[in-house]
Symmetry: C3
Subunit: 137 residues, 3 copies
């Protein structure tokens, strides 16, 4: 039996990083799936879900590199439509926008430092992340 | 029952972006899968499949950023082999080359603005995209 | 029945690229799965698994582009913690850190030039890559 959960986020800051590993493990536990795959996909196109290290210095480095490569406030055609978030759309593609992770023995099968993060690049409003679990109970 | 479809593209332009959301939804409908996952993977390594906004200004922004970061015509070792598409190989890695998307109630479970796009970076010839659907009917 | 394999790597060089297509196909063969999906996910967050061309010039191009965009030895907050691998964490996000590939007729369903590579960005120590196979036997 598959299992689908919709997580909700509304960050106080426009750009923010949230560790969602526990929320994904809770969804897996609720699904009763013991072995399979979990897709974690942001339903908004100015956000990303990635796997990396739970280290705040590294998180600053990610944001500084993205700002250097693709400055948030610069000249973008998308922003001619009245938006100001073109860079957020691009950042989420560069950083890797979604993850599929393994489930073994009823939980995320992670390496020592692997954690799942939600990267918000245009926050301060309601956003959703879809968690779809498939596998054997 | 799984279901596999091979989509074909032959773009008139060397670099092009095509909305393939309807083609993926048609494959899901044909599969009769009601809940599961769909992998959309280009079978050529100078193309990408991504999720983003159906807005032409943003599509221009993507291509302008890729050209700025990795100029299409520059000095690449791969092009010493007689090819001219090294940058196309690199662009598709930077932008995110494949997607896995959720199927709920027999169709793509998308956020309001999520659409699936085929990004061709070395076109004007036959290319294929594999769509593999797994889940419960 | 799902099937899980943990591949191990310990590269002699700090930065290295290894073709793992045959190892993934062997895991699929051992699984007896005829049709499904295989996730290939590095369990370490300074490595990546990607699909691209088995051409050494192109591999040099990848590394040269990453070094140009995000120099390995530069000023990173993560390295204030005593690490020297901040760029390795960032490279693996830019290049695309994991792949999900289709299995048809009991093996990888690849385009002519698609091959699976392990990209090591902080090697000379034991690393693991998880291969999770799901589908129908």
């Amino acid at each position: 039996m598959n299992h689908t959960v919709y997580l909700s986020f509304n960050t106080k800051k426009k750009i923010d990083i949230i560790n969602i590993t526990n929320q994904v493990n809770r969804a897996i536990s609720d699904s009763k799936v013991k072995d399979g795959l979990v897709l974690v996909n942001p339903m908004h196109i100015t956000a990303a879900v990635i796997i990396n290290d739970n280290e705040s210095g590294l998180h600053q480095d990610y944001l500084r590199v993205l700002e250097k490569l693709v400055p948030y406030y610069a000249d973008y055609r998308h922003n001619d439509t009245g938006e100001d978030n073109a860079a957020a759309h691009i950042w989420r593609q560069l950083i890797g926008h979604q993850v599929v992770m393994p489930i073994t023995n009823g939980k995320l099968d992670l390496g020592t430092w692997e954690q799942i993060f939600y990267f918000e690049f245009d926050g301060q409003r309601q956003k959703r992340v879809l968690v779809k679990i498939i596998g054997d109970q």
